[in-house]
Symmetry: C2
Subunit: 103 residues, 2 copies
Amino acid sequence: MNNIFAALPDNLDAEVFETLIDSDKLTVERIVSKGHTSPQTGWYNQESNEWVIVLQGEAKLVFENAPEEHLKAGDYINIPAHTRHRVSWTTPKQETIWLAIHY
Amino acid sequence: MNNIFAALPDNLDAEVFETLIDSDKLTVERIVSKGHTSPQTGWYNQESNEWVIVLQGEAKLVFENAPEEHLKAGDYINIPAHTRHRVSWTTPKQETIWLAIHY
């Protein structure tokens, strides 16, 4: 048993991605951000679908041709493959902890 | 965008299961318990793997031939297919909210 809020990385110079499940059907990861935006340039444009939930902290997601979404603890969203998006803001005040399912 | 902690069911005579993702690769569901144990008799013995996290509340999971696990907010565990297990307790004090990934 592990805890999603525990063992946060000491070094958050960059966002930290940790794989929790890696199977042929899906990948589940914990992402820890603190004031980061991503990707550095341009948009994410992924081959697979992504379902993502913010479990701690706050973040803003921008989708091409759509209003910005402000996610707080418990907010989740499904991002179909090839939906261009980016993380435009994460709070600098604390770690933002995401759980992401790529499928 | 939705929130995992919102829109809790009014009627919790039984545990409430809601599907958040249903694809050929995986199923993701929110489970809301309040004092329930499950299954009613015997063990869960599932065809697929299950990764489960408690996001609110508390629960106890029992595995065949293993000590009981007491899960609190943020605790997660992976349950391989055909691992016999049961939910032996959930707190009656508040809703326990689980996110379960079946894959």
